[in-house]
Symmetry: C2
Subunit: 284 residues, 2 copies
């Protein structure tokens, strides 16, 4: 268990990385991979992502990731789906990649947004743990379960890997209320379904608006969409902020002038769309 799945990513870095070793991950992947790797002095081997005109624009390119693996690689971080691109990897491609990686390299499969994905071919990764002892699957209660403020996540892995992670875990890393809330959340399948349906409708609502306005966006299976307008990302961010809507510029992800909006309720999404439509210069 982790103080959010962020905590688990820290354990991985602290157990398996050190100066002289490197971590492989994709360009535009979750920002915490470089942070935890640099914090322990490891090198970053960043793989080029898919091109804008690919099937999964800016998504993980497993061929490029394979090429970044060298004799000093100790950890590979894979986000499926990835934040902030909302792109995903299918079962066959991902398992072929895992099979091909030497088993002394830890593969972290970060599934923070797994519950939102209904695409056919999306992997059921937990059973893979029995086949690949170097695989760590991380999940969280911070997304679909709505418990981000309480901080609770987890990983599933081979017991020997879990034992190593537990050695750097603080003795009382997860708080009591979060533990109770997580157990209750697992039993509340009704809320889970409602959250997923609300997100599916919202993704469609926002994507349709982007299409209507001819605004470029990255098709997403997460609970967010990243998009780019004719204005600079900072200007869109500031204008939204003034109108009371907080979205995030994601230049720090190497996606210059893109912004990520988290899907909200139908009314919240509509408010975002209205403000965007009225923003001067947003469409070229």
């Amino acid at each position: 268990m982790g103080n959010g799945s962020n905590d688990i990513l820290e354990f991985v870095a602290r157990v398996f990385l050190a100066p002289g070793f490197n971590a492989v991950f994709s360009r535009h992947a979750f920002a915490v991979y470089p942070l935890v790797s640099m914090a322990v002095g490891a090198k970053l081997n960043i793989a080029d992502a898919n091109a804008l005109d690919a099937d999964m624009p800016f998504g993980h390119n497993l061929q490029q990731m394979r090429e970044q693996v060298d004799k000093d690689t100790k950890v590979i971080f894979i986000a499926n789906p990835n934040n902030p691109t909302g792109t995903w990897l299918d079962e066959n491609s991902l398992e072929s990649f895992i099979v091909d990686i030497p088993d002394n390299i830890i593969i972290v499969l970060d599934e923070a947004y797994v519950e939102y994905v209904s695409e056919p071919g999306y992997p059921d990764s937990i059973p893979w743990i029995t086949k690949y002892p170097n695989l760590i699957v991380t999940r969280t209660f911070s997304k679909v379960y709505g418990l981000a403020g309480l901080r609770i996540g987890y990983s599933v892995s081979h017991p020997e890997v879990a034992d190593l992670l537990n050695r750097v875990r603080q003795p009382f890393n997860t708080n009591s209320l979060a533990q109770a809330a997580a157990l209750a959340a697992l039993d509340d399948q009704g809320h889970l379904q409602k959250s997923i349906e609300s997100n599916d409708a919202g993704l469609l609502q926002v994507a349709n608006a982007f299409q209507d306005m001819s605004i470029e966006y990255i098709p997403s299976v997460g609970n967010f969409i990243s998009f780019k307008t004719a204005l600079s990302g900072e200007v869109v961010y500031e204008n939204m902020l003034k109108a009371g809507v907080i979205i995030r510029p994601i230049s720090n992800y190497g996606l210059v002038d893109y912004l990520r909006i988290t899907i909200g309720s139908k009314d919240q999404n509509a408010r975002f769309i209205d403000i965007l439509k009225q923003m001067p210069g947003v469409v070229a």
Copy 2:
């Protein structure tokens, strides 16, 4: 802010320690100092504690600690009062020690139990921060405030030191409910006073019982007392457990056959005392 003050101790180790360097602390000091130091590959320079017949038996011996400081020392951990001995250091001795330490060495003053101490001469350490930029004072809401299950603690230090600690802090390390509870707790001086008075009375109740039974104990200013009977620590622990009272054997602190009891309510303390009195062989 830390996920408990344990989190802060981790930050210190990760920022200031590394292989090739060492941390200085006292024998019988809080168990987390060696854990966080070893987790980053640092060496442990453990200072001998006071003798059993000293004024503060098993307490920090600042002269011994000073002698453990060498060119590779980066951090000194001081618990005041110390868990599990309940011993403490006075203002004059402690400030003389701090003055004498080179200012490139971080001194962590762990004050988890500070609110319980009413002894004259106990230091008011926060103002020292302005004089000693290498000093970090850590505190917690897990003890007198009763919020251990929520996980929240903090440190006070020079802004440049705080900036370094924040660089290894996870972005969302403290949960929202703990933050709200900590703010509320700071305003509830009535509860604080009640907890302190209850603890003072309990310390006296348990210490008097030990004296009545001629059981050896370490005089404590914390919310716990460590003691030793004619039985092995494991036997006392098991017997207490069977009677529904959880206390802790502290052989892992180098205090063989000692046990630590946390002060409870008057009735809880009385129950512990009754069970102890009825335990065969507990008095030599």
